[in-house]
């Protein structure tokens, strides 16, 4: 087994992993601010995919403009969901889980009724491959990975340096203390949920040309997102990145040696191990 093959496998794994990290970041951001696990998170991913399909494939809008539009649109949808539903469930994890399930069904059914159940392919905006250091990567994959990294960096900068971002971090750490210091919890909650969904929508837009859009396309990414945040630590953003890289490596290397079912089992076994050894995850707080 040559080193080139291994590195290539890793690279393949990483490429997609970055996008799943985006989904995971959205999920963990929502969890850290509202303390709820949004099971319908994959549906916002799916929404981003369909927005991309219609704006880019059907209307012919520029790909990056579409992506921006998808992020904004899905973010807005997230804010609506929070204002109508999730704001009343902050901290109530079990009830929120059930409600998010209801939302999942509503969004799935709506998608099936509106768009039909069949896959809709989305053409790639980029063609060709890049060769470097004996490794191969398609331009499309490269763009997807780099875009994901850009979005992750943007999120980091937002949370680190902007006022709303710092307010969100304060609420994530200790909501009561933040409220006492004058942070508008309602605003942070809505914004946080919106941004979390926007990230998922962006991920959906990025992977739409890679995998085609369908109402059920959110199921797999959300499972991967869960695995990532378990490994990295719920509520931890650097954890999500590291968790994503780990998952990408495991899956990339794993697919060299075993079939996809076994790779999935391996992923879950890693999750179980992570939860037993260090339930908070690599970076998680108490």
């Amino acid at each position: 087994m040559s080193i080139d093959l291994l590195v290539q496998a890793l690279l393949n794994g990483f490429g997609l992993a970055m996008v799943y990290v985006l989904v995971a970041l959205g999920l963990t951001l929502i969890f850290s601010i509202l303390e709820i696990i949004n099971f319908a998170h994959g549906e916002f991913y799916m929404l981003g995919g369909y927005v991309t399909y219609y704006a880019f494939a059907v209307f012919g809008l520029n790909y990056f403009a579409t992506l921006g539009f998808a992020i904004l649109a899905v973010g807005l949808a997230g804010v609506v969901a929070e204002r109508l539903i999730f704001r009343y469930l902050r901290g109530k994890t079990l009830n929120a889980f059930i409600v998010s399930l209801g939302l999942l069904w509503v969004m799935q059914a709506s998608a099936q009724l509106s768009f039909g159940v069949l896959d809709k392919p989305v053409p790639s905006a980029f063609s060709g491959i890049v060769r470097a250091f004996g490794l191969v990567i398609s331009v499309e994959r490269l763009v997807v990975s780099l875009s994901a990294i850009v979005l992750i960096a943007a999120l980091y900068l937002f949370l680190r340096w902007s006022r709303p971002g710092r307010a969100m971090r304060a609420v994530a750490q200790d909501a009561d203390a933040a409220a006492l210091q004058g942070v508008d919890i309602e605003l942070v909650s809505a914004l946080g949920f919106g941004i979390g969904c926007a990230l998922a929508g962006g991920a959906g837009g990025l992977l739409a040309p890679v995998f085609a859009v369908s109402p059920a396309m959110g199921a797999l990414p959300v499972v991967k997102a869960f695995i990532i945040i378990i490994i990295g630590g719920m509520g931890s953003l650097p954890g999500a990145v590291v968790g994503g890289l780990l998952l990408g490596s495991v899956e990339g290397l794993g697919s060299l040696f075993m079939g996809s079912a076994a790779v999935s089992v391996l992923g879950f076994l890693v999750v179980i191990l992570a939860l037993l050894v260090r339930p908070r995850g690599l970076f998680g707080g108490a």
Binding site: I37, I85, Y88, L89, K92, T93, L94, N95, F97, I98, V99, L101, G102, L103, L104, W105, V106, M107, Q108, A109, S110, Q112, L113, F226, I230, M234, G259, A261, A262, S264, V265, F268, L269, V271, I272, L275, L276, P279
Partner: protein, 325 residues
């Protein structure tokens, strides 16, 4: 002993359940209705046993996996080893319970959302195991078919057969009533008192001398045993997707929407939602839509479940002021 908070009167509840179960076949012999009713009974066994675990503060997403383990175990014992259903049933139950010890033992080292996630991971491992490994044994993605119905049982000189829908219904009814009696009894005993205390504050319970882990594990194993028995009973055709996330999620919905505060909550939830599902079945996608909306609204307006609603409304009217949740 002290009744659980919520719908009390355990004997009355059991009597009502038994009356309903016995009355149904008198009202109709229609094959379709008996089928639905049998499914409801099986789901009742599953949700009531899930609720036992929830009463100690754990949401076990692998509950349905034990149903699958019971189902595959009894199917293989009957088709491959050649023993009768009646011998396979207890063995399958024991297999489920035995596996519950290590899985529960590991999962219960963590709590809250982590427990939820770890049991979900276990359930996926089990599902993938049945779906993709040992294909000649478990049938792989196509599953197992042609599992025979239970053989005739000698009974005071005659033979009880289990081939018609009515007979299968009766079998499931017997299982369910025994299960319900056991679970109701547990709930209204010292076990139920301590179990709910654990849910309200497991650290407090621990410092008062309660072996919290042992209680939770007991609930886990007993619940898994019931799930295993329910699984062994009910299938002529087995497919790994019957034991995956979607049916598990339905179980959680049935349990929570009825209310986990009382042993009868899951009964209300299961019956109502199964009937609603059947009524909406014609509508295909609209079924999910309506279900989803109902779920969202119920959780927002009746967070303790439907069974707790009358009590809450009565208290509110009496007190004139809303009680803190």
């Amino acid at each position: 002993m002290e009744p659980s908070r919520g719908f009390g009167a355990p004997i009355a509840g059991l009597a009502l359940l038994a009356a309903g179960v016995v009355a149904l076949p008198q009202l109709t012999r229609d094959s379709y209705y008996l089928d639905v009713a049998t499914t409801i009974l099986m789901n009742l066994a599953l949700t009531m046993s899930l609720r036992l675990q929830v009463s100690t503060g754990q949401l076990n997403m692998a509950h349905i996996s034990f149903m699958g383990i019971g189902a595959y175990a009894s199917a293989l014992l009957v088709t491959r080893v050649g023993i009768s259903f009646w011998a396979a049933l207890p063995i399958a139950a024991v297999v489920a319970a035995l596996l519950a010890f290590p899985i529960g033992g590991l999962a219960l080292r963590v709590t809250g959302p982590y427990y939820f996630l770890i049991t979900f991971a276990f359930s996926e491992v089990v599902r993938l195991f049945f779906n993709n490994f040992f294909v000649d044994l478990f049938g792989g993605p196509s599953g197992l078919v042609g599992i025979p119905k239970p053989s005739a049982l000698p009974w005071f000189g005659r033979a009880l057969t289990f081939t018609t829908k009515l007979e299968l219904y009766t079998l499931m009814a017997a299982l369910l009533l025994v299960t319900a009696a056991v679970l109701v009894r547990l709930e209204h005993s010292r076990f139920g008192l301590v179990a709910s205390a654990i849910r309200q504050g497991d650290l407090l319970a621990e410092t008062l001398g309660v072996n919290v882990f042992r209680y939770k594990l007991t609930a886990y194993v007993v619940g898994s045993l019931v799930a295993g028995v329910a699984g062994a009973h009910s299938h002529q055709v087995l497919h790994s997707s019957d034991f995956g996330l979607e049916p598990m999620v339905l179980l959680v919905v049935f349990t929570v929407i009825g209310g986990t505060g009382s042993v009868w909550g899951p009964v209300a939830g299961t019956v109502l939602m199964t009937i609603a599902g059947e009524l909406l079945r014609e509508l295909h996608h609209y079924e999910s839509l309506v279900f989803g909306v109902v779920l969202i609204l119920t959780m927002l307006w009746a967070p303790d479940g439907l069974v707790a609603l009358p009590g809450k409304l009565a208290r509110r009217r009496r007190a004139g002021v809303s009680l803190a949740p």
